[in-house]
């Protein structure tokens, strides 16, 4: 009935055996039902012709056939997004991740990788039911919906057993929660065009995700995302010049030598002033390099033209350190946006196709505390800014001019806020 890109899916609860419960979906944004077993044939029969009922083959991301993923690239081993539960349960204090900030279970990096590898095929994600399923709050569901939407994927709406039975039995609180979830979905559906905006990043991570390189590559993506280090992705076998536009630094993750066209493109990139980080073996394909006087604990640094090549002395066995090195060698000077009071926040930064607007989507992974007193700072010159919050009309944001920077004070929000920035100067 609809192409897969138009599906808004719902994981039909196993306990909903009465087809009359389809009434909860009527007139709402959900247009696609995922049935968990053949025993739900009565539902299938009643829903047929009114809803799409595809069979989805969920796979671990490491087992997906990215060249032929099917109607949708369905990743079944995403995490339930939240401030890591173990973080909150140890003596009431947060468990720090490698950043020193609390660890966040997040899927943004996974979705960006999947979208890159799956091409035009829609990306779906789902997670196993969380251990604390019956304690989930509205904010947890909202975050799950918003996270997938922000990064351009789809997460089928799933209900914890308690909520599902509450809705089925007509419990007022459960029904109110259901209505809010549908409104949230509707709001994000109305803004799906944002997911077509390309991601913004001044770091290009170059990898074929092949063999032994896949672990390194995926971990670097995960840990770069936790640093709120925006990146773009490219395949060393397909590196047209346009991929390097606006890029300050390239991290070539793989151990294999670079294909010759990529090596030539990167040589030109470095000579024009860029930074390339790579291991020893691929560096051999770059041609002659001049040793630099710059010292680094883990890299030997070289110069070529106006730019630099950083060659790792050892294997990359600590991807957090690698992400940190990539960030600092490029320099935080190239961070396009900075967040303050956002330790439980991640953001996805994208740019309109005409380059005139930025979209910064903020996700709060703490379901227990609203994000408050968050400041977004950029060194870009802004003409205007507005905020988009679910269920509210877009509102202008005052631009506070500080020395060399513009700052936006983000109103308190629960799980999701999007800030649209109109740039004065754009590429």
């Amino acid at each position: 009935m609809l192409p897969p890109s138009g599906w808004v899916p719902f994981e039909w609860p196993a306990t909903w055996t009465n087809p009359s419960l389809l009434r909860h979906l009527e007139g709402g944004p959900l247009n696609c039902i995922l049935l968990s077993s053949n025993e739900q044939s009565a539902i299938r029969e009643a829903a047929s012709g009114r809803f799409d009922i595809p069979q989805i083959a969920w796979r671990k991301s490491s087992e997906l056939n990215w060249k032929s993923p099917g109607q949708v690239a369905a990743i079944g081993d995403a995490v339930w997004p939240e401030l890591a539960r173990r973080s909150r349960e140890s003596n009431g204090s947060m468990e720090a991740g490698p950043t020193g900030a609390p660890w966040l279970d997040a899927n943004g990096w996974l979705i960006l990788m999947a979208r890159f590898r799956a091409g035009s095929v829609p990306v779906w994600i789902r997670s196993e039911s969380p251990e604390n399923a019956d304690q989930l709050q509205l904010a947890n569901y909202r975050l799950a919906i918003a996270e997938a939407g922000a990064y351009g994927a789809t997460r089928p709406l799933w209900l914890a057993p308690t909520l599902a039975s509450g809705i089925a039995s007509g419990n007022d609180f459960a029904l109110a929660t259901w209505a809010k979830l549908l409104n949230e979905l509707r709001w994000h559906q109305a803004r799906r065009e944002y997911s077509a905006w390309p991601g913004f990043g001044r770091l290009l991570i170059l990898t074929a995700f092949s063999g032994a390189n896949e672990y390194n590559a995926t971990e670097v993506l995960n840990l770069s995302a936790r640093r709120n280090l925006s990146f773009r992705l490219a395949d060393p076998g397909d590196l047209p010049p346009a991929q390097l536009q606006g890029i300050q630094s390239v991290l070539y993750v793989d151990a294999e030598p670079l294909p010759q066209p990529a090596a030539a493109a990167l040589r030109r990139f470095v000579e024009a002033g860029g930074l390339l980080l790579c291991m020893k073996q691929p560096a051999g394909t770059l041609g002659a390099l001049r040793p630099s006087a710059e010292l680094h604990p883990r890299f030997d640094l070289f110069q070529a033209g106006k730019g630099r090549v950083a060659i790792s002395r050892g294997a990359w066995d600590d991807q957090w350190v690698l992400a940190q090195d990539a960030h600092l060698l490029m320099s935080r000077r190239h961070d396009a946006v900075r967040l303050f009071n956002g330790s439980s926040l991640l953001f996805h930064h994208s740019v309109s196709p005409d380059g005139r607007r930025w979209l910064v989507q903020l996700l709060n992974y703490s379901a227990h505390d609203s994000a408050s007193n968050v400041t977004l700072q950029t060194w870009a010159r802004l003409a205007s800014a507005r905020i988009l919050l679910p269920e509210l009309a877009p509102a202008p944001l005052e631009i506070h001019r500080e020395t060399g920077a513009s700052e936006l004070y983000i109103p308190r929000f629960s799980t999701y806020a999007a800030v649209e920035l109109e740039l004065q100067d754009h590429a």
Binding site: S331, R332, F340, N341, N373, Q377, G404, E407, Y409
Partner: protein, 385 residues
């Protein structure tokens, strides 16, 4: 992992104090008189009035030339806490951090006075990142500081860095708690040490000024939550200084001087004022500067609980003795610098000014301090109602 300090020594600054055992020292008796002058200036903001105000203050102290000409000058700034953390939406430099304009103006004036090399130092929060990158994370452009004079560099002193070993500074008379400290050798490889602090209250010390600023000089590799057990852990520069320094729940790396054990040693409001006093005496500060133009009241950072507020005292202070400078600053905040435990701002903690005076580091007695520039009554900006 260490070498003894061979640069300017505590003895050369406090000769009388160094000759006596701690218990026999009368309070303030040995404070250096010429160091007790403190300059106060009104400065409304970080704009055009800032550099002239600082210049006038330094002139009131006898001029910078004699202090810094052809010297290596280290400037310890106060960038306490996470660079992402703000008091509400207030930028860190308007609340808890030394403002970069004050750092830049100080660098400029020290450069103009003929310094051979200037190093900006800080043990930046929970990281071994380069200090420049830390500043970028705050949203500052470090080039404004690096370009303010010739031969300016920045060092994150949480780690050993480029130096072969840490420098050891022994505390006079064995100190109250720490008989000495191993810190980054940039604190030894300098002729002049400037503490460039912020005018603030403090959760465990009552006030944090040019003396308490030096707490950030203790490297995380030795005194941090992930410090090495036997030797400094150069990969352990993460976390804070809560476990070893505040709480005394474990000892610093065994290679460094170990703190004394005994009554009170597990209470951070007993420990911290003593640590501050010991540091002040162990590594003398030659020039104290306190940025009180914009700041916060109620604590030293947004992480404190209670009545935190961004405020604008519009004050700058400078002096050649840290105890005297901090005493005047404390008075400017509306407190008695000679107050004992139980009196604000030392309600539940000991007064580090008195503890430092006991070590012969200077006098906090306002009667013995000459104030230049703005008069004390005109300078008082009560931090509490």
């Amino acid at each position: 992992m260490r070498k003894p300090c061979t640069g300017i020594t505590r003895r050369s600054l406090f000769p009388a104090a160094a000759a006596l055992p701690l218990s026999s020292l009368p309070p303030f008796a040995d404070a250096p008189g010429q160091g007790a002058r403190v300059s106060i200036a009104r400065c409304p903001d970080y704009g055009a009035a800032l550099t002239p105000a600082l210049r006038a203050m330094f002139d009131q102290l006898g001029g910078l030339g004699g202090l810094v000409r052809n010297k290596t000058v280290a400037i310890k700034v106060n960038l306490t806490g996470s660079p992402d953390s703000r008091l509400g939406n207030t930028p860190a430099e308007y609340a808890q951090y030394t403002h970069p304009a004050v750092i830049g103006a100080t660098v400029r004036l020290i450069g103009e006075a003929g310094a051979r090399r200037i190093r900006v130092l800080e043990g930046a929060f929970s990281t071994d990142d380069p200090l420049e990158e830390f500043m970028l994370q705050v949203g500052w452009d470090p080039l404004h500081i690096l370009n303010a004079a010739a031969n300016v560099e920045m060092i994150n002193t949480n780690i050993r860095g480029r130096f072969k070993q840490y420098a050891r500074f022994n505390t006079p008379h064995g100190g109250h708690l720490f008989p000495g400290f191993d810190i980054n050798a940039s604190y030894e490889e300098c002729d002049v040490l400037v503490s460039l602090a912020k005018l603030k209250e403090h959760g465990t010390c009552g006030v944090t000024l040019s003396m308490k600023n030096m707490f950030g000089a203790t490297p995380l590799t030795i005194y941090g939550d992930n410090a090495g057990k036997d030797e400094p852990d150069e990969k352990g520069a993460r976390g804070g200084r809560g476990i070893i320094m505040h709480a005394g729940r474990r000892q610093p790396s065994r290679s460094a001087p170990q703190p004394k054990q005994g009554a009170g040693a597990e209470n951070d409001r007993w420990r911290m004022p003593r640590i501050v006093a010991d540091l002040t005496a162990a590594r003398p500060i030659h020039l104290s500067i306190v940025d009180g133009i914009f700041t916060m009241s109620g604590g030293e950072g947004p992480w404190n609980y209670g009545r935190l507020k961004a405020i604008r005292p519009g004050l700058l202070l400078a002096g050649l003795n840290p105890v005297s400078t901090d005493a005047v600053a404390t008075a400017c905040m509306g407190f008695d610098p000679l107050a004992r435990r139980g009196t604000p701002p030392f309600e539940t903690r000991d007064n580090c000014l008195l503890l430092a005076a006991e070590l012969g580091a200077g006098t906090p007695d306002l009667k013995r301090i000459e104030v230049a520039g703005l008069s004390m009554p005109d300078a008082v900006f009560p931090f509490r109602d």
